[in-house]
Symmetry: C2
Subunit: 287 residues, 2 copies
């Protein structure tokens, strides 16, 4: 792909237009960036691989639901560098057709997870039925297409904007501590050609994955590579190692740039006891 | 609940009769133990709480798919001790009505995960259609009830036995390194009244959950409590801490009994740096 098409090819995200992933795309790439909606998480990686997309927006963890383990597996199986991250606050809005007042809403469609995150709203409004739907933004798309005048959806504000619907109630989620962390992935070529200067950001993170020999204390020894050098871990996640029952891969994020002497020493130290190790990316710490 | 009813009340497991969880129940409690099939994982804990069940069979991790994170959350939110564990090899069998030969099978129903774990079988038999179904054992139940003579299900051998169906092809899974680890949970009262003598088993495991203060090196310091005492970790799992974005709970299994001086010292050491800590159980190491 040429540098030009890399700039104009879209960013792949999972879900319908207006999904929270599209919010993440706007934050990471600007509001005007072209996007490519995908059905499955794996499609994000495949579309980057075959050049249909120039970037992929990958949700990696949510503060209520935990890690998106499937995407940890894809990060390993594909080999696209993480070049940025962002944390999107999940704000659930009640959205209906323009002209439909709140008093007319008898049914609310949304993804079951979103419905479950707005239980206080349904307790306060016992006359409104909850109907599980395959997608948050998709529920708004559907009620606009079907011209439903007694229904609403629960989705992001971007979904209301994209489908020309209206927000009836803002931020009806029970828990405001609901954030999803997204990675921005690029091709290795793009990342090489467009490096972010170290001085451009004060705080950086490095993500890596490793497996240890299955010996006593091996994880402790692996983590000592960071702790002994005052490199702070932001996250650790384990995933099963295929073909080796009860052994694990560990995904670690530490605060700092991978190309500092301190981090290089830590990775050399880790490599002494790790069976396998790969850096997944080094990127500015997200807000 | 009296000791007598605790012995005759059933063991709750998730899924239809014949699920892999029922295989685990037979291993953990003997082939004749009464069982209570439940729809959701949460029902396992609720039925133990309200006395409908005397035991719960809880899948906690699979060597291909990883941890069952929902059950880690339930282990924390409910407070039932883990008293045993077992590892069940997931053997997928092609099962049809008695009298239906393999050559007549045009459609195969099963849970999507099971269908995906038998891809080699479908590649070798391109004329057979895969149809996703809500449950492995439920697919066998359905084809017996509907008397389907052109279809088969993929499920455990226990499912064939229970529904009076026949195994056409044994062990059609792609990967034989497919195991699910199950916990046996009891009420605290039952566990107190029926302790397993330490000498009855050579190898023991202890499971616990803790959170650390969000300070640099806190996980490393927490793990040092085990490493410095040569207590080997078998597993570590992280889950988000509700209400504290980007902070985590850690679930750890170590090899050894919780009531040895060495383990007690380790837990005292861990408590110095942990915000929260709870032992979830101490049980013989499963085969």
């Amino acid at each position: 792909m040429s540098a030009r098409s890399a700039r104009t090819a879209p960013a792949a995200f999972q879900g319908e237009r207006g999904a929270f992933s599209e919010e993440a795309a706007r934050i990471l790439l600007g509001p005007g960036a072209p996007v490519l909606p995908c059905v499955r998480f794996e499609d994000l990686f495949l579309s980057l691989k075959d050049g249909r997309a120039a970037a992929a927006i990958v949700p990696i963890e949510n503060t209520l639901a935990g890690s998106v383990h499937e995407n940890y597996d894809h990060l390993l199986n594909f080999d696209f560098p993480i070049v940025a991250e962002t944390n999107v606050r999940i704000v659930h809005n009640l959205i209906a057709l323009k002209g439909v007042p709140f008093s007319k809403v008898k049914r609310v469609f949304s993804h079951p997870v979103a419905l479950n995150q707005c239980l206080n709203f349904f307790t306060r409004n016992p006359g409104i039925e909850r109907i599980p739907f395959y997608d948050t933004a998709g529920s708004v798309k559907m009620l606009v297409e079907e011209h439903l005048t007694d229904a609403a959806g629960i989705a992001s504000s971007v979904a209301a904007e994209i489908y020309g619907a209206r927000i009836l109630r803002k931020s009806i989620e029970d828990d405001r501590q609901n954030f999803t962390r997204f990675f921005l992935l690029r091709t290795p070529e793009f990342a090489r050609r467009h490096p972010v200067p170290p001085a451009a950001h004060a705080h950086w993170k490095t993500s890596l994955v490793f497996s240890t020999r299955n010996t006593p204390g091996s994880l402790f020894r692996a983590l000592s590579a960071f702790a002994l050098r005052d490199l702070n871990l932001a996250k650790i996640e384990s995933r099963p190692l295929r073909g080796k029952p009860w052994e694990y891969l560990f995904y670690v994020d530490f605060l700092g740039r991978v190309d500092t002497p301190n981090a290089r020493n830590a990775l050399n130290h880790l490599a002494e006891s790790a069976d396998f190790m790969r850096v997944l990316g080094c990127y500015p710490k997200g807000a």
